[in-house]
Amino acid sequence: MSGPGRSVRLVELVGSTRLDEVFRRKVRQRRWGVTLVTVCVAAIGLWLFSDILGSTGWSPIKVLELAVFSVLFTTLSFGFTQAFVGFLVLAEGHEPLKITNTLDESTPLASTAVAMPIFNEDVATVFGNIRTLYRSLQKRGELETFEFYILSDSTQPEKLVEEELAWADLCRQTNGFGRIHYRRRKVPVNRKSGNIADFCRRWGHRHRYMVVLDADSIMTGESVASLVRLMEVNPRAGIIQTMPKLVGSETVFGRIQQFASRLYSPLFAAGLNYWQQGAGNYWGHNAILRISPFLTSCSLPVLPGREPLGGRILSHDFVEAALMRDAGWEVWFAYDLEGSYEGLPPNLTEYIKRDRRWAQGNLQHVWFLLADRVRPISRLHLIQGILAYSSAPILVLFICLAGIQAALDHFRGHASSIPLPAAIVLALLTLLLLFGPKLLSVFHLLAQPELLRRFGGAKRAIAGVIMESLFSILTAPLLVWFHTRFVLRNLAGQKVVWNTQTRASGSGSRWIEALREYWPVPVAGVVFGILAWWISPMYLLWVTPLLLGLWLAIPIAQISGRSGVLRRMFQTPEEIDPPRELSKAEPFQLRAGDQFVHAVLDPFYNAIHVALQRRRSPRALELDEHHDNLAKKLFEGGPAALTAEEKRALLSDGPALAKLHILVWRTPAEKMNPFWAEALRAYRNEQRATVPS
């Protein structure tokens, strides 16, 4: 605990000058409190369940079932406790131990890099979001200490060209040359974490802090400046993570997630901060990092074994937070800092694809549970991450064990001897743990009339919660299905491919596509339903909520991906009353069409691209010849004649591309490939339509 302002406030709050000791004691008390509540609730559940299981005698299956249940129920209990504590913190209206209490607007800013690693992302979104932050800081008069780095790992030739021109356009629009930088790695080693590490190696000594953003992150100038100030007054803070609000979704799926996250997250976030304090976690974006300890302590190790579970680390953020903590730095969660936003996958399919990457990444963290020098709270964060996905196969195992047991009981005629009161109490307790946080969030919302208005009023908010709950009941089995598959596949040695995340909204997949992607789910649901009926009608009744989601997988996936539906439902404050930075986010205009062709035809695209390439090495004659041959092939056969790799190779040779540009423009139509003649004609028509003569 340090920083003059912070000390004064804490002295006021705890009434002692031995701040560190008092702070530590307070945090210890909080952690014990949360543990006690979690364990007590879990113990009640376990006691009830063991009562139910033991009523017909014990068997090895039942012991295993109880063990699996204890893992699932404790996880549930911990989540509920966190939300409950968060509710109490928010209801009290004052949390003495949070990092934002130390914010002092008069603190001078320090040199900060805003780093945005990208990989074949939507260029307009990336540069539009950077422009929003740039202008926001400019408006506050706080731009001086900031520099912006767009760190591209893009591999698609069209994206490379588009990104370069977008960079030049952005710099020209904002007068940002020398302040907005664009760096492309030719070989994207170690993905996003490698991208950031490469940035640190190149410019690590240029800045004191770096704010890491995702391609769909939007942050206001105020929030970024506040993060820097918080770092300055808390010299032991290594990372400060904000809580990004989900925005910009158009589809039913996206808007439901947006609504749920906006309504329920504050409770969980306040609860999380309550017990973790300076031992927090890092989510990989919308956060500020102190570069110096990051360089010395957060280099990611290579895990034993091969991918998917070994090798290079896929999900770097949790590990970096653990390494930062191990080096003695604090990791804070500025959960109530406004002005941090992010997008989300537009539909269930994209959401599941993202989960596939995250599942593999989080499973790799198992190694860190067995690693030396990982602090207990960091281990807990890692366990939570692992359980986010592995709880699905654990649940499936529980259902299977329960099915086997139900079958055995049914055939032995024990089914009717289950103690009903214990079963009812356990069911109610489970419902409370599952839906209690939602209910508490609604209570919290109803107590704030202004916020309630920004959610569309009480009726709409409550209707939204009911519909969201139904939707989550229906989608949960689907997620369990996919998460189980991902975990099992990873355990069987299959790894994921690093794909670009689709962030834009759309009209949703067509019925035929939904059918193609999801058909095994309802089939499995029907088979499992028949099996459950055969085992016991009672068992079928018990698993029906799960089966419903499986049976309806195809319509759920299709309908939830649609946009323009239920527009008046699931409204959030950011939709009704958007902050200036979100409402003024004008689209970043670029020339439509094939960007690779523009790199050849458009004099400015071509010049910017060529100017940014390294000069030819006088010794690389063979390479030059190869590139000249590629240029010839492109001229004679059109873009279809080159593979993506050949296009990338040609793009890396500025002089060859400059020559090609002149060649295309000076060759008469009848002497060139019809593709270029047509492209020139189209280019002229577009030019005349857009540029006034």
């Binding site: 068997s59 090895p60 299956i61 039942k62 520099e147 960079w167 030049a168 020209r172 020398g178 930088h181 664009y182 760096r183 640190c200 190696r201 190149r202 410019w203 690590g204 000594h205 240029r206 570069i291 360089l295 302590s297 280099s299 190790p301 895990l303 034993p304 390494l323 190694w367 067995l370 690693a371 030396d372 020098r373 086997i404 047991q405 055995l408 035809l601 458009d602 004099p603 400015f604 071509n606 010049a607 910017i608 060529v610 100017a611 940014l612 500025g654 002089p655 400059a658 002149i662 423009w665 000076r666 008469p668 139509a669 002497k671 020139l680 280019y683 030019q687 005349r688 540029v691 003569s693």
Partner: protein
């Protein structure tokens, strides 16, 4: 320019009367459009003088198409007009690129770049000559200390135990068989 309007009119008429030269005119004109050079008298003069030279060259180089000749001459004319914007040290094969970069950078005020009657100030010209498009700042390198991965005692024991059973993991059929046997045993013991 030293060319009479009557002569220019005649030149324009003769260009339009030949399909080859007309195509050359359109292509060169399109290129100037692409460079966002405003369609004014300066541009018309630039084009016509380029064509005058191209027509003269055609007599000496009959095998070269009018489009190629006209485009080359227009390039030369652009070089002459925009030559002030770039340093004399820029090699010949790079000049066109550097000129286009400067045209791009000064686009909103491009009239003053191309128009002879409205030249840029010396300071701006000097600044433009010094321009070097750099997407990244100068390196200020730092070393990242790699940290080896070390298991704790329990982890090492688990890893060595897992190593002993690695045969099961590498043989999927065997793993399935053992798994099913375990489930069977569990059910049998629970009967």
């Amino acid at each position: 320019m030293g060319i009479s309007p009557e002569y220019l009119g005649l030149l324009r008429a003769s260009i339009n009367s030949s399909p080859e030269w007309k195509q050359a005119w359109e292509r060169t004109n399109d290129y100037l459009d692409a460079l966002r050079i405003p369609a004014d008298l300066e541009r018309e003069l630039l084009l016509l003088t380029s064509f005058e030279r191209a027509i003269a060259r055609k007599r000496k180089e009959p095998s070269v198409s009018p489009t190629e000749l006209a485009f080359d001459e227009a390039q030369k004319a652009l070089d002459a007009t925009l030559g002030d914007l770039i340093s004399a040290k820029v090699p010949a094969d790079r000049r066109s690129v550097e000129q286009r970069v400067r045209l791009y950078l000064t686009q909103p005020t491009q009239n003053s770049v191309v128009s002879r009657g409205n030249r840029l100030s010396h300071e701006v010209l000097a600044a433009l000559r010094d321009v070097r498009l750099e997407a990244v700042p100068r390196l200020q390198q730092a070393a990242i200390t790699p940290r080896p991965f070390a298991l704790n005692t329990a982890g090492e024991r688990l890893a060595s135990l897992a190593g002993k059973f690695s045969l099961l993991g590498s043989n999927r059929t065997l793993a399935w068989l053992i798994g099913l046997c375990l489930v069977g045993l569990l059910i049998y013991m629970s009967l």
